[in-house]
């Protein structure tokens, strides 16, 4: 399916642009971290240790004046002492206000973001592309109707609709046991991976419109190509149920012109949009968890939100997860640019919405 020319174009573009190389490195790093978080994390992200609260990251040890009030022979006196707080290598990126290790929380936060990003986008793509291809290929009233529905969805900014839906459905989550845990590799790490189901559904429901618009645009232009007319001239149906016999078991799959000709030739812009959408979804997920609408316990947005009240005293609690988000999203966007420049420089710039 993917011709050698596509690989060659990708390689040529990769050699040419440094930004593409940076993008690939960042994305590879983020994925690696997300998968092996339990192995990499020095501490259990949820284990609190009040004694070690608000430790600064390495290199930022500071002296602080602490004011404590004490009962000294009957009166209340304000005592100011110089306290030296040193960063420890135990917690390279410091600890939060209840002593949880910031580095571990960031590593596990990557996991939530990547899961929501990929699964959410995949669902949105599945639904959006199907609607878009059908609407673009057949056109006419069906197309009008579907596109008006898309316009209505677009009338609500993604975040606004997301909040409203979460408000309606509540912050349901689902627990899956952590593979590393079941293999007994990481005993002291949390057993379950908490996946915010509502957020994934909401994200998919909100972003399918971008996929529908791109798929429709592609289907409209591909529909007039002569190889489509040629396929119809041979009597090929638009859509028909086919069975692939895998080891004797007939597996039904949709055959016909739409899936065999229109879809493959619309893949490139959809692929590019998918990468941009994963980035957009990560921003949306972190926004939702920042506003407290996510339900996931280990999420970058949540950490930033919790760090808000300690800005003056422990600035790193909010700053570090933010940097993680930026790195992840920049990396994914760079990969998106690389795909677009290599595969189909002509794609228009309709960025996915946050």
């Amino acid at each position: 399916m993917v011709s050698d020319r596509t690989w060659r174009n990708l390689a040529v573009e990769l050699r040419r642009s440094h930004l593409a190389k940076l993008g690939l490195v960042l994305v590879a790093f983020i994925l690696f971290v997300a998968i092996f978080a339990p192995v990499l994390a020095p501490h259990d992200p949820e284990q609190t240790d009040p004694g070690e609260a608000n430790l600064p990251p390495l290199g930022f040890s500071e002296t602080k004046t602490e004011t404590t009030s004490e009962m000294v022979d009957g009166e209340v006196q304000i005592v100011e002492e110089e306290v030296q707080i040193d960063a420890t290598s135990e917690h390279p990126l410091g600890t939060d206000y209840v002593g949880r290790d910031v580095l571990s929380r960031v590593l596990f936060g990557a996991r939530t973001s990547i899961i929501v990003g990929i699964v959410g986008t995949a669902l949105a793509a599945l639904f959006g592309v199907t609607v878009g291809l059908i609407s673009g290929y057949y056109g006419g009233r069906l197309d009008d109707g579907l596109m008006r529905a898309a316009d209505i969805m677009l009338a609500f900014p993604s975040l606004v609709l997301a909040i409203a839906l979460v408000g309606l459905w509540g912050r349901q989550t689902k627990k899956y046991d952590d593979p590393f845990q079941t293999w007994g590799l990481t005993p002291d790490m949390p057993e379950h991976v908490v996946v915010p189901i509502t957020v994934i559904l909401v994200v998919a429901l909100v972003n399918w419109v971008w996929f529908a618009r791109v798929a429709r645009g592609e289907a409209l232009s591909v529909r007039n190509e002569e190889y489509i007319k040629a396929a119809r001239a041979t009597g090929k149906r638009d859509l028909e149920l086919r069975f692939a016999h895998v080891k004797g078991i007939p597996i039904p799959y949709p055959g016909g012109i739409i899936t065999e000709h229109v879809l493959p030739n619309s893949l490139t812009p959809i692929l590019v949009l998918a990468t941009i959408q994963v980035a957009a979804v990560i921003l949306l997920e972190s926004a939702l968890s920042f506003l407290g609408f996510s339900g996931a316990n280990l999420s970058w947005g949540l950490d930033i939100s919790q760090g808000r009240d300690y800005l003056s005293s422990a600035w790193w609690i909010s700053t570090v997860p933010g940097i993680a988000i930026v790195l992840a999203v920049v990396g994914i966007n760079l990969v998106g640019d690389w795909l677009r420049d290599a595969l189909d420089p002509g794609i228009d710039q309709g960025e996915g919405g946050v």
Partner: protein, 476 residues
């Protein structure tokens, strides 16, 4: 004569614009484009019929409608005796096995995402002919037969030149061993030298598999080289059909003559050859001219018998009449030119914005009457200068000025009527038609017309040169 393989009677294909839900709400009635407006022809087995005409004349639409790639809006198509129009499902698919098509653009007729072998094997898969191995074998033979090599089976289209891609398109068309193939401008996108390779291949294949071709092209020299019979098309209708030698050596219809004359010959004496080029452009298929559709560009349009006028002048008068009939004149800009010299930018920009299209609302009626009376002569002079290259000889110049005078008060109908009485031609009233089962029918009043057309001419109180001097001696 055995009965023909393909029989087409009054085939029509109209497209509709502006008929979405919102348009209907706005009360816009859908605009119909009559791309193919009642064409009839036969193609006999083993024959190659050429369909020639300029872009926008509807030849490709005819080809595609013939194969039901587009749904016809009228007429009948019979293939090998049975009716094609109401074929559905399995019957339609089996019809497709016998009738195939080769397209024009080598870069758009092959799916870039599929291997060459896959593309040629596709028709065999759709009709699951034989086993998987026998299909691959057949595809390898086909690739060899069209001049490529079997081991290019797994290559992708971008690795081939234009000429090679057309060969792949031909191999695909022959996969199901069809009897009839529509060739839709097969060589227009190719260079001359490569085109020759493909044309030779097509004629070899025709002899080897005794195929019947419908060749669609705008290139007259390609048509002459391959076709046995030729149909010339203009704005959705056939104007002339006949054997290739007669059409090329002794063309009857003025359009065919102009077409042949305009083709530059690749020979040294071409510079001195006198060519009488056609004037104007092809009219829009949304509002085709009344009667004979070629009358707006025809160099030999027939004046009324009682009128003595040079063809040159008559053509100029007819051009002016067409514009008045279609109200295709922007009187406001004429008034502006008359009133204060060149039109001021602001006013024209505002007018274009508010949608003051040339023919719709007419601002001149707004000016007060005495103003217009006083400027009437200047208005008529300006209009005359704009519309006529050089002034007409009397009495025609006077008659036209009277008609322009009516335009002073925006009386379009009066101006049109005034000229219609004097200059109305049979060509604009009665549509000529092709004589059924005639070897070389011509849809032009200069030639012999079928009985029904002659009667309509008589009823309209008109006469045609052929009517007086009998058939076939062509225009003087």
């Amino acid at each position: 004569m055995t009965d023909p393989l393909v029989e087409v009677r009054d085939l029509e294909k109209h497209f509709y614009e502006r008929n979405t839900a919102v348009d209907r709400l706005l009360g816009d009635d859908p605009v119909s484009i009559r791309a193919v407006d009642g064409v009839s022809f036969d193609i006999h087995a083993g024959e190659t019929l050429g369909l020639v005409g300029e872009s926008g004349c509807g030849k490709s639409t005819t080809g595609e409608t013939l194969l039901r790639l587009q749904e016809p809006t009228g007429g009948s198509i019979r293939f090998d005796g049975d009716d094609v129009i109401d074929l559905e499902g399995e019957e339609l698919r089996s019809f497709r096995r016998d009738a195939q098509i080769v397209f024009q653009d080598p870069f758009s007729s092959l799916d870039p995402r599929r291997t060459v072998g896959g593309t040629v094997r596709d028709p065999l898969d759709v009709h699951n002919v034989g086993t998987r191995e026998s299909r691959q074998e057949r595809v390898r033979d086909l690739l060899e037969r069209v001049g490529l090599s079997a081991d290019q089976y797994d290559r992708y289209p971008h690795e081939f030149s234009g000429g090679q891609r057309q060969r792949i398109g031909i191999a695909r068309a022959l996969a199901l061993e069809p009897e009839f193939v529509v060739l839709d401008e097969p060589t227009s996108a190719l260079d001359v030298s490569v085109q020759a390779q493909i044309l030779n291949l097509l004629s070899d294949l025709q002899d080897e598999f005794d195929l019947t071709y419908l060749l669609i092209s705008h290139d007259l020299s390609v048509i002459r080289h391959i076709c046995d019979r030729v149909a010339v098309m203009y704005l959705g209708e056939f104007v002339e059909v006949g054997p290739a030698e007669e059409i090329f050596d002794d063309p009857q219809h003025p359009y065919t003559q102009a077409l042949l004359e305009s083709v530059p010959r690749a020979s040294t004496d071409e510079r001195e050859r006198e060519v009488e080029t056609l004037s104007g452009d092809v009219p829009s298929p949304r509002r085709p001219p009344s009667g004979c559709r070629f009358r707006t560009r025809c160099p030999v349009v027939i004046p009324p018998s009682d009128l003595t006028v040079e063809q040159e002048e008559y053509r100029a008068i007819m051009d002016v009449r067409d514009r008045i009939e279609d109200r295709d004149l922007d009187l406001t800009s004429v008034w502006e030119a008359v009133a204060d010299g060149p039109p001021s930018p602001v006013r024209s920009r505002v007018r274009r914005l508010v949608g003051g299209g040339p023919a719709t609302e007419d601002a001149s009626r707004g000016d007060s009457d005495p103003y217009r009376k006083e400027h009437a002569d200047a208005f008529v002079a300006e209009l005359e200068d704009r519309l006529l290259e050089d002034s007409l000889s009397p009495p025609h110049d006077q008659r036209l000025r009277e008609s322009f005078r009516r335009l002073v008060d925006g009386d379009w109908e009066g101006a049109a009527e005034h000229l219609r009485e004097e200059y109305e031609s049979v060509c604009e009233v009665v549509s000529p038609a092709l004589q059924q089962d005639d070897e070389h029918p011509v849809a032009c009043h200069h030639s012999e017309q079928p009985r029904s057309v002659q009667e309509t001419v008589r009823d309209a109180g008109k006469t045609t040169p052929s009517g007086q001097r009998g058939a076939g001696d062509g225009p003087d």
